[in-house]
Amino acid sequence: MTNRVLEIANLEKAYGDHQVLKGVSLGLDKGDVISIIGSSGSGKTTLLRCVNLLEDFQKGTIRIDGSEIGYHDVKGVRTKVSPKQVTKDRALTGMVFQSFNLFPHLSATDNITLALKRVQKLSKTESAEIAQHWLERVGLPDRGSSFPGQLSGGQQQRVAIARALAMNPKLMLFDEVTSALDPELINEVLDVIKSVAADGMTMLIVTHEMRFAYEVSNQVIFMNDGLIAEQGTPDEIFKNATSERLTAFLKNTKF
């Protein structure tokens, strides 16, 4: 059992002619919280989406807990793994989206128990207990029977976080999860993420909230043009930026 939860090596990805990721390497140990910052188009979201195999990638490897995911060697040829394997590999990570993507026709509790029952094959009572536990964890103990349409944006996003955490992933991925929220609702979500980090969850966070990134992470990565331009502790990145590009970027952001 290695301590290295996530290992990305030389990841390259292109959309048609456009090369989005040009060779990204990154490692996360258990309990690491790494924030990724950078301007739009730098490839940060794409990187995240490759980790849970929502996107294909042409070169490089991604290993979770030591095992490679997404592709394998078939007689010397790099081939994509079967859809069934992809589904299994995805269970290792949990993802929270910018637009929440809660299932509108299911209550908050059912949103969480759906995968517990269908993927992990847990019983109705077991899943309900787990769901309730996580709803309490994100601060919504009595909103289980509410539907997404009846919840505020901040509440919906917290349910989405609970939904991802309930599946007990090894790694949590957060894709600009507060960018679609009204300003006064952002803090409730950020607080939840901070407490989950404090519990020791390994996390990879793409965000625009600089102060939050500074407070919650133990490493910050600045991406530019498909590559990691700078990497370091929050102090190194935010207070002692070395590269020109990073300084320029930080000048235009609130910190």
Partner: protein, 218 residues
């Protein structure tokens, strides 16, 4: 209207009920059969491979382009040329069902594709398989969206059922003409026919709205 009209109406009540029964029988059989076929075609249209999709698309577009009457006549007359002899009733139900299926298939495709992409992504992220995603996430949302159009198609089928009178099926229109042939109260009885069709269609619509409200996403 003279009391003669109401008298005539009362005398003909058995015939009228027969006509209504046949109309409903033909319509509902066609709707159910057509919806089932339409679901199969619609699924191939949305999720099939290139070849299946091409066939499904051809089927849907061609059938939707043909007037209902032509469809009915084809099944009744043209098929007999290749020795498939359908009774008027069978031909009527089959042709209306085919007509329905083409519309349902297109509806289903539209509904399934209209479910936001983020839904399937979230389902994938949480570990659901393709089939599980379809059954628990995509389909429930698509069906709710399709419901109004489906009800519309159902009413269209009921209206289309008048055309089977031309191949001799004794439904409302034909019964009306038979009654008029007897008592010459043309305007009144065509009005009655119109009223009956209106009531059928209206009830279907109302039921549809009721169901819509019940299953609506809050």
């Amino acid at each position: 209207m003279s009391t003669g009209f109401f008298n005539e109406l009362w005398i003909s009540k058995v015939m009228i009920f027969r006509g209504i029964y046949t109309c409903l029988f033909v319509s509902f059989s066609a709707i159910i059969l057509g919806t089932l076929i339409g679901i199969c075609v619609g699924l191939s249209l949305t999720y099939g491979n290139r070849f299946t999709r091409f066939l499904a698309r051809a089927y849907t577009d061609i059938i939707r382009g043909i007037p209902v009457l032509v469809l009915i006549l084809t099944f009744y007359f043209v098929l007999s040329v290749i020795h498939i002899n359908l009774s008027a009733l069978q031909a009527g139900i089959t042709s209306l069902a085919i007509f329905c299926s083409a519309h349902v298939s297109e509806m289903l495709r539209g509904g399934l594709q209209n479910v936001p992409k983020g839904q399937t992504e979230a389902a994938k992220a949480v570990g659901l398989s393709f089939f599980q995603t379809f059954l628990f996430v995509t389909l429930p949302q698509a069906l709710r969206q399709i419901l109004p159009s489906w009800i519309n198609t159902a009413v269209e089928i009921v209206k289309g059922s008048t055309l089977v009178s031309l191949i001799g099926v004794v439904e409302i229109t034909l019964v009306t003409q038979q009654i008029i042939g007897r008592n010459f109260l043309t305007m009144q009885f065509y009005a009655v026919a119109g009223l009956i069709y209106f009531l059928i269609g209206f009830s279907i619509e109302r039921t549809g709205k009721f169901v819509e409200k019940k299953v609506a996403i809050k």
